[in-house]
């Protein structure tokens, strides 16, 4: 393989003057990037900054309009990812590129020319086992992918690249979806790999602490251009955030405490099945008061989705009660719940939160169609609805040319702003926010978090479900770590410790050490 001859400290992969245009946008504008053997060089950029375009160019999925890519000092033209793989470039996808029904081994050797016409299973297992030992991974090679956790799937992706002889590893959002423990393990493995002379390029949207912790160098993209590139030791979280957004950003750290009011939501011993008829929510009880944010911290798939759907009236419960503002709503429809003051911001904004083919007016109407104030003589008053949507767009700063554009044409951040506007404009007594900032960039995250905090200050109760401990700790008044359908505990923020909450998300209760 070409790269073997390159010594530590020499440049393995370089991009010079990369420009890539798409109709109406310049996704990459004269981008330069280089990485040395054994280096960890992070690329930081918000959604739409041109990160994924650059990533696809480096991996051969796109061809640049201008500029050149060099591997080991030689100019290369990738026609497809296969060319990049052959030259020792590997990719660890955020949306895992693995076949769920196949085993770990089958996924690792898929498309590998060295696996043999008739698969030599003992030899392949031995070789993969050696790789695991060298880099400190432990995984059951015979397990099926669907049985694995997100962190284990990521290990499979890394192994797949390494087994193919990758010497440069591109990692897309390496810590997304991992538990605190899995993140620690990953960071340790990344350090081992870089000591073993692999070059690693993590692409990160906004997890600045991770960048600071593992990378040697960082390059920041904004609007398709490289705005800064420096050694990580000269950077701070604040300086990174400023370059990232182009202005000083207020990542909320100050939480104001409001006087707690009466209980707004009482949940008693709630249980529910998931789509596969397994008990995914298992006897959860809690209370949320007016002017309070309860943060449910957990890795997706531990019953949060089922909890939210039961509360929103979208999924039947098998046991337990939901009491909203003193009324038992357990058997009520979603619409009744909205009318009683519940507001719901779903996790999947593209499919549950909105209808892509509908205009913003129609999407707004979905939370208002049952209000008589928008009807004139029994039929919907289109003008009033349109004017109202325009008001929301202005008030919440949704970047949309007019209220008639289709929802699918909005960016994630703008769509989320519209959904928040639609929900909060009803002045709900209870707001359920499920992964409200997932996949958003820093500017939009700031906006959503401020709005949730504002809702609380106005006396609403907020149920926040998040995987992001920073988010949980910056917003919540009480924290409920969730694991396998149960709350491990409910801790007031004053007494909550990050490591303890992180461990409880993985089902482990740390011993009190007093």
């Amino acid at each position: 393989m070409l790269l073997k001859q390159i010594k530590p400290g020499e440049i393995v992969l370089e991009a010079r003057g990369i420009t890539k245009r798409f109709p109406g946008v310049i996704a990459n504008d004269q981008v330069n990037f280089e990485i040395k053997v054994g280096e960890i060089h992070a690329i930081l950029g918000e959604n739409g900054a041109g990160k994924s375009t650059l990533m696809k160019i480096l991996f051969g999925q796109y061809q640049p309009d201008e500029g050149d890519v060099f591997v080991g000092g030689k100019q290369v033209k990738f026609k497809s990812p296969l060319d990049a793989i052959d030259l020792g470039i590997g990719m660890v996808h955020q949306h895992r590129k693995l076949v769920p029904a196949h085993t770990v081994i089958e996924n690792i050797i898929l498309g590998h020319p060295g696996a043999g016409r008739i698969i030599d299973l003992p030899r392949v297992s031995r070789e993969i086992g050696e790789l695991c030992e060298r880099y400190g991974f432990s995984i059951d090679l015979k397990a099926k992918i669907w049985q694995l956790s997100e962190g284990e799937k990521q290990i499979v992706e890394i192994l797949k690249s390494l087994y193919r002889g990758a010497e440069v590893l591109i990692m897309d959002e390496p810590t997304a979806g991992l538990t605190a423990l899995e993140t620690e393990k990953l960071l340790a493995s990344v350090e081992t790999m870089s000591r073993e002379n692999l070059a690693i390029v993590p692409f990160i949207t906004h997890k600045l602490p991770i960048v600071l912790r593992i990378s040697d160098r960082v390059t920041i993209l904004r609007q398709g251009k490289v705005v800064a590139s420096f050694e990580t030791e000269h950077a701070t979280e604040k300086s990174l955030a400023r370059e990232l957004v182009g202005r000083d950003i207020l990542i909320r750290t100050e939480r104001t405490t409001v006087e707690k009011g009466k209980p707004i939501l009482e949940v008693q011993e709630l249980s529910a099945f998931n789509d596969r008829d397994l008990m995914a929510l298992n006897g959860v009880s809690f209370t949320i008061h007016e002017g309070e944010i309860l943060g449910v911290a957990g890795v997706s798939g531990n019953g949060q989705g089922e909890l939210v759907e039961v509360l929103a009236g979208l999924r039947p419960s098998v046991k337990g009660k939901v009491i909203l503002d003193g009324k038992d709503v357990t058997a009520m429809s979603s619409r009744k719940r909205w009318q009683l003051g519940m507001g719901y911001v779903p996790a999947d904004r593209n499919h549950v939160g909105s209808i892509g083919e509908f205009s913003l007016v129609e999407n707004t109407r979905m939370n208002y169609y049952f209000d008589s104030s928008f009807y004139t003589r029994g039929s919907l008053n289109q003008h009033k609805m349109r004017a109202f949507t325009q008001e929301l767009i202005n008030e919440y700063g949704v970047a949309a040319p007019n209220p008639e554009v289709k929802a699918k044409n909005l960016s994630g951040g703008n769509l989320q702003k519209l959904i928040m506007a639609r929900v909060l404009s009803r002045n709900p007594r209870l707001v359920i926010a499920h992964l409200p900032t997932q996949g958003l960039d820093i500017g939009a995250i700031e906006f959503v978090r401020n709005k949730l905090h504002e809702a609380k200050e106005n006396g609403a109760g907020v149920l926040l479900i998040s995987e992001d401990l920073d988010e949980i700790f910056s917003l919540s008044d009480r924290i409920a770590p969730m694991y396998e359908g149960k709350f491990m505990d409910i801790v007031p923020i004053e007494q909550a410790r990050r490591d303890a909450v992180g461990a409880m998300m993985a089902g482990i209760t740390l011993e009190e050490e007093i």
Binding site: I85, H93, A101, N107, L110
Partner: protein, 291 residues
């Protein structure tokens, strides 16, 4: 009794070979519901060729070739043009039904050639079918090629980033599937029942299609299912051979279908799904769009 048994195995040969073709295609994600049409084509053109040239070999080759051609056509519609695979498959069936009725009409009647030799009454094609089932199982589960085919059928985007040419793989599988369907049809008209008449296949292709779902995409279960169904089919034609006087033959006619319903019912239970899981290729019937 022996004769009945042999006749059942001959029938199951038809289901098995056509089903194996369909199974290969489906494992790569291509659903071909036009299996009946491909079999009609293979049977009719094979019959016409053999009768006019006097050569069985040519008959079978033409049957396979026309099947492969239809597989290519189905591939073009469903892989390159990305149309709905059910619509394309239905098109093949309707085309096959109409065109073979028209083309075959002048040839109606018996083949009029010496029968293909048998081993103690058993057609050599049964042996071929069993060997094929083993070969398909081996290729799919033990070789790199099989892993590629299965991956393309499960998640083509994963296969793509692993350096596999999704379209090419699907084309090859679709053509291979068509060839086996054509061969199966030719075996029907040249060996199993060498007489051409209107709509002689009576839906056997659709039974083979159902058997593939039945088999959980496993060639050996497909073999078992084909033998079972072939036996009940023969039983429904001549119940008096095995169980004289027991129930009307019209009740027996219904038995294969009643059993199908029963098995489908069992397969839909939670017990069965928990135990055997869902073996269905995840990308079955879905065209692949590169992102």
């Amino acid at each position: 009794m022996w004769e009945f048994f042999i006749r059942s195995l001959d029938a199951s040969t038809i289901f098995l070979i056509a089903g194996l073709g369909e199974l290969i295609g489906q494992r790569s994600g291509v659903l071909n519901v036009g299996i009946e049409g491909a079999m009609l084509f293979g049977a009719t053109l094979g019959f016409m060729t053999a009768q006019s040239t006097g050569s069985y070999l040519l008959g079978f080759l033409v049957g396979m070739a026309i099947g492969g051609l239809l597989g290519l056509m189905h591939g073009f519609f469903s892989i390159s043009l990305k149309v709905d695979q059910v619509v394309s498959g239905m098109g093949i069936w309707i085309l096959g039904f109409g065109l073979t009725t028209y083309l075959g009409a002048p040839y109606a009647g018996p083949l009029g050639m010496d029968r293909i030799p048998t081993v103690m009454g058993l057609s050599p094609f049964f042996v071929l079918a069993v060997v094929l089932a083993g070969a398909v199982w081996f290729v799919l589960s033990k070789t790199s090629l099989g892993l590629q085919i299965r991956s393309v059928g499960e998640d083509p985007s994963v296969a793509e980033v692993s350096g596999i040419n999704v379209s090419k793989t699907r084309y090859y599988c679709s053509i291979m599937a068509g060839m086996l369907m054509g061969l199966s049809g030719a075996i029907y008209s040249l060996d199993y029942n060498p007489v051409w008449n209107y709509n002689f296949l009576q839906g056997w292709g659709f039974i083979a299609l159902a058997l593939v779902f039945f088999s959980l995409w496993n060639p050996f279960i497909l073999l078992g299912g084909s033998v079972l169904f072939g036996t009940f089919w023969q039983l429904s034609l001549n119940p008096q051979l095995v169980l004289p006087g027991l129930m009307s033959r019209y009740v027996w006619r219904m038995v294969p279908f009643a059993i199908t319903l029963g098995v489908l019912l069992m397969m839909s239970t939670k017990w069965f799904r928990d135990r055997w899981g869902s073996a269905k290729p995840q990308a079955l019937g879905q065209p692949y769009f590169k992102d």
